[in-house]
Assembly symmetry: C2
Amino acid sequence: MSEGAQDNQEHSHRVQGVRGLNRRQFLAGGVSLLAMSASSTLFDAQAEEPTDATDPMRVPGALPRSYGERSPLEKQVRLVASTSSTTPLQDLQGIITPSALHFERHHNGVPAIDPTRHRLLIHGSVNHPLFFTVEELKRLPSASRIAFVECSGNSRDGWGDARDATAQSLHGLTSTSEWTGVKLSTLLDAVHVQREATWMLAEGNDAAALARSVPLTDEVLNEAMVCYGQNGEALRPEQGYPLRLFLPGFEGNVNVKWLRRLKLGSAPFMTRWETAKYTDLLPDGRAYQFSLVMEAKSVITKPSGQQQLRQGFHEIQGLAWSGRGRITTVDVSVDAGRTWQPAQLQEPVLPKCHTRFRFPWKWDGQETIIQSRCLDETGYQQPIRDALIKVRGTHSSYHYNGIQSWKIGRDGLVRNVYA
Amino acid sequence: MSEGAQDNQEHSHRVQGVRGLNRRQFLAGGVSLLAMSASSTLFDAQAEEPTDATDPMRVPGALPRSYGERSPLEKQVRLVASTSSTTPLQDLQGIITPSALHFERHHNGVPAIDPTRHRLLIHGSVNHPLFFTVEELKRLPSASRIAFVECSGNSRDGWGDARDATAQSLHGLTSTSEWTGVKLSTLLDAVHVQREATWMLAEGNDAAALARSVPLTDEVLNEAMVCYGQNGEALRPEQGYPLRLFLPGFEGNVNVKWLRRLKLGSAPFMTRWETAKYTDLLPDGRAYQFSLVMEAKSVITKPSGQQQLRQGFHEIQGLAWSGRGRITTVDVSVDAGRTWQPAQLQEPVLPKCHTRFRFPWKWDGQETIIQSRCLDETGYQQPIRDALIKVRGTHSSYHYNGIQSWKIGRDGLVRNVYA
């Protein structure tokens, strides 16, 4: 009988023996690496070992599936509101957002598009207007990039009162995927763009006919893609199946989903989506228009709003990102901003991509406020809320990136506050 | 009326006008960047534009879903055989394998495990044996890493005759995910490993009680993890829900799924999974044992086995990976190995991770053989089949990493051959 088989029979028994004796020893042992609490509240799961007939070692398992969905015991979902759905930031791990949980924003529902009938038209100030089927696009030279997309309206609560809500509800309109498609420059070369063309209209095939103007800057020409892939397979319907425009670092809205048309021109096209909406109203009544880049932001997602904390060790985790490039540092404060210490960044740190930060912390049970602030490679630092509002006022609905403060009460409850 | 709305009404009309005129212009225009064929066979989709009442711009779209699965029109699946299921390599994009399409290998089915009742026991040559609930593990310091897992039996057909099959069927027991969990070193520190402990038994909670011995090398101590996360959410059931061992670069089998127990000891535990199986029989009757590392391999996935090619431009794509570290170069031959040219590697190139390579090519319609070969950062180059067999013979079932040759017939059919 192999060692494995021998031990196997003794497993339940050993576990029973181990539990009482050694958990305490472990906790009292002062494991410095873990900076763990010696309190017995750290590990409090006391469920019994399974010994019944459903023991998975006593019955053959199920057959694998041809498309292996998540366990039915997993319940994380997007919060679906009338016009958007938020990613459960507090439940995410690593930097990839599961495609099924990627945030979405729609303006007249999610269209059902048959990719075999879909066409992308490229016309306007070009010498050779063309349309492409999805299959044709897939046969062109391709590229893939792991990067975030964030709705410009993400974190908009920050402009108003501090709403008692979760990280998902407050900041969940941002997600990261590996996007695959054709570089925009490949397509523009194919249509022979005329010299006068400095802007491009991108239009969706949805019932809102959402359309945005994109300036043809060097950055756009170098980085923009027409995507058909997300995390290794086709785009999900909510993310633009079968085609979307992808403009790394730009507000989500211009990453036009269900993309059907690109029109080149010599000026912005002034659609309702960049005049009546998606502009940033300033205190003096003027407004920023085409404020396309998402500035650096960070959010602690664990612990975060409406979670219940216990005294002892916690790994503070969160996400940081910048539409300008790479995140260089994330600092964490656990004393309401009096002192800051650098968090560890998960490698590789990619440009215009969610970057997970981690920071070990032991909560002593006292009331406090935890915060994170990030710096990107351009030297831009995420502002405190007061500084942001001093410039922008409180009439905007977009581009809020102030430092998030979570207050932890003596009862362990985590709440959204302005500090 | 905005520019977008105006153009919108004219879309179908314009497309009709554009099609006849400009597709030909584009194709005849010699777009050098694309190195495209001037043949009209490049783009042959001739479906009509949708004009019926199901036009997605004329009806409001569907409501988004709280968990947004793929479009029902997408049909890629794993090929499910009696003991394993292969990833559709030829359909993948980028480097992330969709979790639902990650390959799986099981030895007595996929167990149904309730994570709230599951325990991980760590015992043997330790001073403080301990068990952990999944929740307890999630509260410890965490780490995430994008890396491949490959079954040691992947590509095993290479040891025998050249079977006419797809890339998926021949090489689909390899996949890449972002894995999240606790570093093994964190857990071993917690149990106070005794000095004599140089090996570790890892045992699964499946009905096979699969168990493997792992040497506690520096590499293992630095890199191994006990994982609960895959691509941002919980492990899928087929990949070990709720816990698996993750040993970057090691054969899949030792990355024990449904992990329930780690036992430390001073010698390998000689389970049936490392004596009767998962050893490499050599020509002289001896066998490699504990041949744990997956050596460098590459496979062209597009075009690949049983696909039908048309004359003209093709972007050759494939995956390369090495259990020893980063891929440094992938060369492609389109003339049966007479000449080789470097392919472009998708950035970032990560250690012990699938690396996508791309190579533009124009097929002239003549019979030929295409191949890829990779080099890793240790200087190891993927061998030709003859060189591999000279050392290893043909009695092994494991660790085949010879260069894959795809023959393209004059009829455009792609077939697996030995060249």
